[in-house]
């Protein structure tokens, strides 16, 4: 580099500073930027957690979450029931979260696999914990009682079970080859048990038990391929608009 070039860069930079053509941005601007970045990270994380836990809530509501206990056909039902729209939304938030996290040295200095796995574990554990708090059940209940503005319609639209081959309900009466159940909308179904019906949680079922049935419907009659009991989750077996 010639002396002339050296001089010109240094002179030009200092001249631009002296003439006020370039200003040093104040520190608060960077503090604000950093705070906004953290806020964005927190919002993205909350959005992922909310969407992730909502997906689990939906699958619990329609019974698909419990279907893998029935083996291959149950796993197939779970995959068929996956809410692809919400999974896509969760993935978008995940990508956003990953992108924001990669701006920090603790993340970019490590292979991307680590941050992806870290975020996946965080989302899975966080979603599981949120599901345990029954926050979605609470919001769903409020939505059904018309006490939840804005997102109430959203919960009412997506929170109702609508699977063809899986039904949840409470046993109300038994007969020789089966029993009657009432679903969360108080509709009664006849469950027919055959020798090939699977009982992955045991055959010890009684009146009052909450059950998930896998089988083909014929009107209100269901030929059960599998029957399992579900403990806890009482809310999903009784809709709150039905006293």
């Amino acid at each position: 580099m010639t002396d002339e070039n050296r001089k010109s860069i240094q002179d030009n930079v200092l001249a631009a500073i002296d003439a006020g053509r370039v200003h040093m941005k104040p520190r608060w601007q960077f503090v604000l930027q950093g705070a906004l970045m953290v806020a964005g990270l927190v919002l993205a994380a909350l959005a992922v957690l909310f969407t992730g836990s909502f997906i689990v809530f939906l699958l619990e509501q329609n019974g698909a979450w419990f279907a893998p206990a029935f083996g291959g056909p149950g796993v197939r039902e779970l995959f068929t029931a996956l809410p692809l729209l919400f999974i896509a939304v969760a993935l978008i938030f995940l990508l956003l979260l990953e992108r924001l996290v990669r701006r920090y040295s603790f993340s970019y200095a490590q292979p991307m696999l680590y941050s992806v796995v870290g975020i996946a574990v965080f989302v899975a554990a966080g979603s599981f914990l949120i599901v345990q708090t029954h926050v979605h059940e609470g919001l769903f209940k409020q939505a059904q009682e018309e006490h939840l503005p804005i997102v109430g319609g959203f919960y009412r639209q997506f929170g109702e079970p609508h699977l063809d081959r899986i039904i949840s309900g409470t046993i109300v009466e038994a007969f020789e080859n089966g029993f009657y159940i009432t679903d969360p909308e108080d509709q009664q179904f006849t469950i027919i048990v055959t020798p090939s019906t699977q009982f992955p949680t045991g055959r010890d079922i009684d009146i009052g038990d909450n059950v998930i049935i896998l089988g083909d419907r014929n009107g209100v009659n269901i030929l059960a391929e599998g029957i399992r009991t579900v403990e806890g989750h009482a809310d999903m077996f009784k809709r709150h608009n039905n006293p």
């Binding site: 070039n5 860069i9 240094q10 930079v13 500073i17 040093m24 104040p26 960077f30 696999l113």
Partner: protein
Amino acid sequence: MEELTDEAITRQVQQGDTHAFGVLVERYQDKLQRYAKRFLFGHEDSQDIVQDVFLKAYSNLQSFDPTLKFSPWIYRIAHNEFINAIRKKGREPLSFFDPDTLFPHPIAKERADTEVKDNELRAMLDSCLEKLDLKYREPLVLYYYEDMDYQSISEILHVPVSTVGVRLSRGKTALQKVYTDLHPNEATN
């Protein structure tokens, strides 16, 4: 002023001594010009781009933490400006995702090469740099010409330290191939 560290001078500039910034420009203009020439092959306006790097550094100086090293910080700004310049000209393809950053790699030992080998590599780099993929060219330039360690290169490129090692290793292999293609007689001798 001359005996102060970069970071101490930066602190002075942050406190209002704007002319102290001239010392930083003086210390880094040769390095950044050299970096620009090797990174931005064929860009006639590299001097203007380096000048923009200093103006941008001055403008963002309050975001610099003087407890950290100044050198990777200003090289990071230079890297971004150079990438923008390449993008504007559209001469070289820039990938948004590098699979090398995805998985962990064993970190190669730094400075494993002898000085003679380093000099050989520098000579090869001089004659073949333009033919090398940008993703290998930059770490090779930073390592062999700017004497940066893996950690500093990782901070400049925002890639894992292990990826720096992988790119250097693959870059050297690519360099040898390019050199052999360009100088077939020397390779067979």
